[in-house]
Amino acid sequence: MASEAQAHAETAALRVQFDTEAQQKDASTLGMWIFLITEVMFFGGMFTAYTVYRRAYSDAFAVASSSLNVTIGAINTAVLLFSSFTMVMAVRASQLGQRRMIVLFLVLTLIFGGMFLGVKAYEWNEKFEQHHVPGPSFHMEGVAQQGHAQLFFSLYFAMTGLHAAHMVIGVGLLSWLIWMANKGKFTAEYNTPVDIAGLYWHFVDVIWIFLFPLLYLIDRHLPK
């Protein structure tokens, strides 16, 4: 940049603290990536707890895991992958400045995200009915060490719960983006919000990609 750069009028496309659009975009992207790193560490704490307990209580974890509905889990994983696909298509549309396509793909993403959450809610509800929610009324057939199975479900609820919380935030972001996109705010030149919201959405997908095998697929082959 020229050394004579001075403060300019503020717009969404170029905030006053930046000199160029490229600088602003770099900053936003880097900012989002660093935020995602904090998210990695946030979930990392739970993955650590999971690893420690699964190592210690592998039998109880296997039985508890097998009580989850693997078909629903796999389908839900697919739903989330579809939502990632539509999200990246929305980002692509925004890069090309196709307003209608941005809205279309964002709405599709929103629908898939909503489906995922709906299925999740169904699964949790099932846990309540089956007394698989940690607490005084917890009971699980086929596990002698109820405590260890409870630990599994404590982690299950903490991990899927926080994942779902991130999804809900993502749904909020998507709604806002759809509104903005519909107003024609995003162009081929200025599409950073779509881009970084996409990063967030994909990240939430990646977390699920790990949660699915870790929670649903422990030693499924064992006779129950």
Binding site: Q6, D26, L30, I34, T38, G45, M46
Partner: protein, 541 residues
């Protein structure tokens, strides 16, 4: 602002008026001042708790307050001082204000997020304050399970939520700094021309970003256990309380470096400015900050040598702990070497810098004691540890914070503080500090456990000494409050560069204009080049 001279020029303070212009500001300088006001309140709150603690400990029998109250006092002292004063202190006040200026930027990369960070600290603080007013919390700032999840009957949830929210304030500040340093440096400002203050804040931000989320999730798990009774750490279910300690210290040990690294950054600025010399071994000092940030993540288990952690893990953590000692030592040596053949001026900020180096040296060296397994078994959870970390946090971080505050006060406010009073208070603080905390090393090695409301009579003499020191220290801290406030109205006008310093922040008027610089500066020199600052220089050395 009583003279016409200053009103002629528009600066960040007079560009707009009214409460709203402050509460909705996106200016990093104003946000810095908002932080300053907030954490000053928390400092005095934490200090108040400390005062009652020290008075209580004058007598072994514990007559002033009950055990419940005493336990709440030290818990709230720790929580307030660590999460609501020390963690935000230098980064959120001085860093916020000066980091963009030092790199020639108009603001941080995300001014709105910066404001949100402040609100998060305030909200977190209100949660914690609510907990304190409602009845307090007694788990110790470490929230060890299962005490915090099962046995404490105090306001654990509100306090933990407060820390959780304040944690996000810290994360967002770190994120903002990293992005700003990467993308917003002025033309010509290469990485190795950056002031060491900026390097230190870069390293600090890495820790904030990488460590704080683990604290956040640990708090979430503790809250789940306490509120919903889903036990992650509950031994009754087979959970392991030591796992909590791992997760907690993964953040909370590096958190010490969140407090001390910015302090080191401040001291680098002070030592250079007041000896008018580039920091000896600039690159080594810069890299040592990053090294401390990285290595600081590998040592947390040294808080757990007697916790039931495995012997081999204990040894590994002890071994790694010694690696983090080296970059810290290097910094001290380099600061000292910078003084050699310098032009050393004894102004107040430099006194604080000397104080910092001295006290940090003692704090750091006693760190070697507690990292030595054999000794740590004896001194962990005693006053030895209390003394050690107060030497680092109070003797180190707060000395540097005060030094930095004095150094940059003219830039922030446009006014000078009274030099005589400032020197006096620096001296009083130094003496009071040592009298307070040195006896605690002896107490600790004698076996006085920490967090004790009552204690055997043979420890009383040392406790009385410590309390005497604390009262001196309290006076020392009160004096600057008074003269800083006084100086806002009556202080002498500060010029653009009252210290003859070299940083970019001294090349713009005091107080700075809204966007810091009238034109974006172009950097053509390394940091700490004084040849352009001193008129008609007389070369010495």
């Amino acid at each position: 602002m009583n003279t016409a001279a200053i009103h002629e020029r528009e600066d960040y303070l007079n560009v707009s008026h009214g409460l709203k212009s402050w509460l909705l500001t996106k200016d990093h300088k104003r946000i810095g001042l908002l932080y300053l006001a907030t954490i000053t309140l928390f400092f005095f709150l934490g200090g108040l708790f400390a005062t009652v603690i020290r008075i209580e400990l004058l007598t072994p029998g514990g007559g002033l307050v009950s055990s419940e109250t005493y336990n709440k006092l030290f818990t709230m002292h720790g929580v307030t001082m660590i999460f609501f004063f020390l963690i935000p202190s230098i980064p959120a006040v001085l860093g916020n204000f000066f980091l963009p200026m030092m790199i020639g930027a108009r603001d941080l990369a995300f001014p709105r997020i910066n404001l949100i960070s402040w609100y998060l600290l305030v909200i977190g603080g209100l949660f914690a304050l609510f907990a304190m007013l409602a009845g307090g919390v007694d788990t110790g700032w470490t929230f060890y399970t299962p005490y915090s999840t099962t046995y404490s009957n105090t306001w654990v949830i509100a306090t933990a939520l407060g820390i959780f929210v304040a944690g996000f304030s810290s994360i967002l500040t770190g994120l903002n700094f990293i992005v700003t340093i990467h993308t917003m440096r002025a033309p010509g400002l290469t990485w190795f021309r950056m002031p060491l203050f900026v390097w230190a804040h870069y390293a600090t931000s890495l820790i904030q970003v990488l460590g704080t989320p683990v604290l956040a999730v640990t708090i979430v798990l503790v809250l789940c256990e306490r509120v919903f009774h889903i036990g992650i750490f509950d031994p009754a279910l087979g959970g392991d309380p030591v796992l909590f300690q791992h997760l907690f210290w993964f953040y909370s040990h590096p958190a010490v470096y969140i407090m001390i690294l910015p302090a080191m950054g401040v001291v680098s600025e002070l030592v250079s400015t007041f000896s008018r010399k580039a920091i000896f071994g600039y690159r080594v000092v810069a890299f040592s900050s990053v090294a401390i940030a990285v290595l600081g993540f590998l040592v947390w288990g040294h808080h757990m040598f007697v916790s039931g952690q495995s012997v081999f893990a204990g040894m590994a953590f002890s071994f790694l702990s010694y690696f983090v000692a080296i970059p810290s030592a290097i910094k001290v040596f380099n600061w000292t070497a910078t003084l050699y053949k310098g032009s050393i001026s004894w102004e107040t900020p430099m006194l604080y810098a000397f104080g910092f180096i001295g006290l940090f040296t003692i704090g750091g060296l006693t760190g070697l004691f507690v990292a030595a397994l054999g000794i740590d078994v004896h001194v962990t959870d005693t006053y030895f540890v209390v003394a050690h970390f107060h030497y680092i946090m109070v003797g180190g971080a707060i000395m540097a914070y005060l030094g930095g505050l004095h150094y940059w006060w003219p830039k922030m406010t446009g006014r000078m503080y009274p030099e005589g009073w400032a020197k006096l208070s620096a001296l009083v603080i130094f003496l009071g500090f040592n009298l307070t905390f040195f006896p605690q090393f002896i107490l600790g090695y004698l076996g006085m456990p920490r967090r004790y409301h009552t204690y055997p009579e043979e420890f009383q003499v040392l406790h009385v000494l410590s309390t005497a020191g604390a009262s001196v220290l309290a006076v020392g801290y009160a004096i600057p409050m008074i003269y800083f406030a006084w100086s806002l109205k009556y202080g002498a006008m500060a010029g653009t560069n009252p210290w003859g310093a070299s940083g970019l922040e001294w090349k713009t008027p005091s107080p700075p204009p809204l966007h810091n610089f009238d034109t974006t500066p172009v950097v053509t020199h390394d940091a700490y080049d004084y040849s352009t600052v001193v008129g008609e220089a007389v070369e010495i050395g």
